[in-house]
């Protein structure tokens, strides 16, 4: 025993941990020999820009003792890479609807929720598909719970301990407005198509999301009622695109944005006064001292959620490292980081501990800022006394009316969207 080398001791310790964590049953059978020790592991976490931060990778590496690398890529590019180049990723950071497309490729492995220490602290929305008060949530589009638990190549309708992804961050999206340039209150999605803002409206140029924002507006105006905005029929797509083409030809839209910075510049430079927007973009505009509000509207929000998935090729000690990393991601620092750009963490409890009381009240409580509120990089974005629009965490999440999604008629939608853009 005392002749053991350092490395062997480490791997032995990890092995014991595995035995304890997974239950002896899964490790019985062939003896495992791990050539590496935990500290030699490098994990590649590939995710979208709003989730990938070198500071977080550095903090995780320091706390965990092995190396975490991050690469920034667009959600669609990550999805394609999971399917076609799976070995270039260890941890895939994806939106939940992506599971609908790629889970059956079996390039991701199910996560054993028993190994996620804070699993029970994840909000019920993900774990049970219920609102905070136990009521049902809207299932238009892809509510994360619908694809949360795996069953073979498909999804289980009830919790079964085998998760497709571990939920990390989520939010309720709405329209961003420039109150100083509009000069009156805006309360409905219908304003997106209001001729009053002709030539000053922008929409996100991602077909699946852009059309849902448009559908929220069209439904609010009373032109159409959708069976499911998140899974339109061909007729519904045609009707929606027809209205959009008409609006475009009437000069309603100033532009369509494809990247985050475009949306910030549209708003900051006054090219648009009302548009689809992401929360960090609103933060960025405000950081420049320009008034911009992420307006809560009476028809509710469009929700989305991100999670971390484990690639199928992970095994042995690397898989253990991946579980340790997943656990670390729910301990607070990451949740606090993304909270400062307006996103919510799936485990608010640990996030609360990592935020100052004033920050918690502002971001999660919807209360007026008690002190200056700073963004993740230290720029002041809110003066004392002002509050985030839409109210508290529970209010905003509870008012989600549809979810980011991929539609059954997706290919047709993209074709018609191209038509709209070219018209």
């Amino acid at each position: 025993m005392h002749s053991e080398t350092n490395a062997a001791r480490v791997s032995r310790r990890t092995m014991l941990k595995t035995l304890a964590g997974a239950g002896a049953g899964s490790v019985l059978g062939a003896p495992m020999i791990w050539a590496q020790s935990l500290k030699d592991v490098t994990l590649m976490h590939v995710g979208p820009s709003y989730s990938i931060f070198e500071d977080i990778a550095a903090a995780a590496s320091a706390d965990l003792g092995f190396k975490v690398e991050m690469q920034n890529a667009w959600t669609d590019a990550i999805m394609a890479r999971v399917v076609s180049q799976p070995d270039t990723i260890d941890i895939a950071d994806l939106e939940f609807w992506a599971m609908q497309r790629i889970w059956r490729s079996q390039k991701l492995q199910a996560i054993d929720t028993a190994k996620i220490t804070n699993w029970d602290k994840i909000i019920p929305l993900f774990r049970e598909g219920r609102n905070f008060d136990g009521s049902d949530m809207s299932r238009q589009g892809t509510m994360p719970f619908e694809v949360q638990f795996a069953e073979g190549e498909g999804f289980a309708s009830a919790p079964n301990g085998r998760a497709t992804m571990m939920p990390t961050i989520f939010n309720a999206d709405t329209l961003g407005i420039r109150p100083d340039l509009i000069g009156r209150d805006v309360t409905s999605w219908a304003e997106l198509l209001n001729p009053e803002f002709k030539g000053k409206v922008a929409l996100i140029n991602v077909p699946q999301i852009g059309i849902m924002d448009a559908a929220m507006a069209i439904e609010a105006r009373g032109d159409l009622t959708y069976i499911d905005k998140g899974n339109m029929t061909r007729d519904e797509i045609d009707a929606t695109i027809a209205i959009l083409i008409k609006a475009k030809q009437d000069g309603q839209f100033r532009a369509f944005w494809s990247s985050f910075d475009e949306s910030v510049n549209f708003m900051a430079s006054g090219e648009a006064v009302i548009q689809s927007m992401w929360s960090p973009a609103v933060t960025a505009v405000r950081g420049r001292g320009i008034d911009c509000v992420y307006k809560g509207l009476k028809e509710g929000y469009r929700g989305w959620g991100n999670g971390l998935g484990l690639m199928s090729h992970l095994e042995g000690i690397k898989l253990e490292a991946a579980y340790e990393y997943l656990n670390w991601m729910l301990t607070g620092p990451y949740g606090a980081f993304v909270a400062r750009q307006g996103y919510y963490s799936s485990v608010p409890e640990t996030t609360k501990a990592s935020l100052s009381a004033e920050e918690w009240d502002y971001w999660y409580g919807g209360k007026p800022a008690a002190v200056e509120i700073k963004d993740p990089f230290g720029t002041v974005m809110e003066q004392p006394g002002r509050s985030r629009d839409g109210g508290s965490f529970e209010d905003r999440i509870g008012a989600i009316r549809c979810w980011n999604t991929t539609m059954d008629e997706g290919e047709y939608l993209v074709q018609r969207w191209n038509d709209f853009v070219a018209s």
Binding site: A77, A80, E262, G410
Partner: protein, 284 residues
């Protein structure tokens, strides 16, 4: 070694690299355009459905028309501009050092990131941009001009800004080779400037014009980024539409559209090469 073998050996590395990285991937794309796709993976079952969908959709014709329009306008402007600039440098700047210096001056912006050069137009052209505020301060307009940004105008302006160099380099190269004595002789014979341009300079620059045309047309027709950003997403070309399909992992129609696009561009280039045989010039 026979001359034939010698040549084949000489081009062998070129052949190998292009076969592996262009030939095989192209073959792949062509195959994919005829295969069925279940939203995730391909099955090698022959189908014409992808082409049927592409050919039957009016969108396809609209975006092809749009792409060709951009290519034609950009080509015309860069050709005139590129020709004028090269002509000026070769025939009006007598000092060789100055000539080379001015030529380099044209090429320097080429070493800045294209992405950054493109977005640098936005602060110029926007509603609150330099042009508009300038014009408004001068009292020439009282409403900002909206067509400057997020429009066809902005797209073509950016293309011309980014791609004129690809016209200048080959034309400059071709013009520099023209024997000045021929022109002197023509002048002595009483030819007018316009006649010299038409009968000597343009014909002798045709290799450069052909190459420049090929560069510019293929650059415009292969672009998706400029059109997406500078039109504010309000206009699309074949490749930008294809990119939308690829992003959402709907590959088959993208592949079919691509095959069609390559066929069209190849046809155009073949026509150009039929008029000006770039290779035949080598035999001299």
């Amino acid at each position: 070694m026979t001359p034939n073998r010698m040549s084949q050996l000489s081009v062998l590395p070129f052949t190998t690299i292009l076969t592996v990285f262009t030939g095989l991937p192209l073959l792949m794309v062509v195959l994919l355009s005829f295969w069925t796709f279940d939203g995730l993976e391909y099955r090698p079952e022959f189908t014409l459905a992808n082409f049927a969908a592409v050919f039957s959709s009016p969108v396809t014709w609209k975006i092809f028309g749009n792409t060709l329009r951009y290519a034609a306008i950009t080509w015309a402007i860069t050709l005139v501009l590129g020709f004028a600039v090269s002509f000026y440098l070769v025939f009006h700047v007598r000092n060789l050092k100055l000539q080379i210096g001015l030529f380099l001056l044209c090429t320097i912006p080429f070493w800045t990131s294209t992405v950054i050069r493109m977005i640098s137009w936005i602060p110029f052209l926007g509603r609150e941009g330099l042009f508009n505020t300038g014009l408004m301060q001068l009292g020439l307009i009282d409403q900002p001009l909206e067509f400057l940004l997020f429009s066809d105008f902005a797209v073509i302006l950016t293309y011309v800004n980014l791609f004129t160099l690809f016209m200048i380099v080959p034309i400059f190269n071709a013009m520099a080779k023209i024997d000045k004595n021929v022109i002197e002789a023509a002048l002595d014979a009483g030819a007018t400037g316009f006649q010299i341009l038409r009968t000597i300079i343009i014909p002798l620059s045709r290799t450069g014009i052909a190459l420049g045309t090929i560069f510019v047309v293929t650059l415009v027709m292969g672009d998706f980024f400029v059109v997406r950003v500078m039109s504010g997403g309000q206009s699309s070309t074949v490749v930008s539409a294809m990119k939308n399909n690829i992003d959402q992992m709907y590959y088959p129609q993208a592949a079919a559209m691509a095959v069609l696009l390559i066929a069209v561009v190849l046809g155009m280039v073949a026509t150009i090469l039929r008029v000006v045989d770039v290779r035949a010039e080598l035999a001299k």
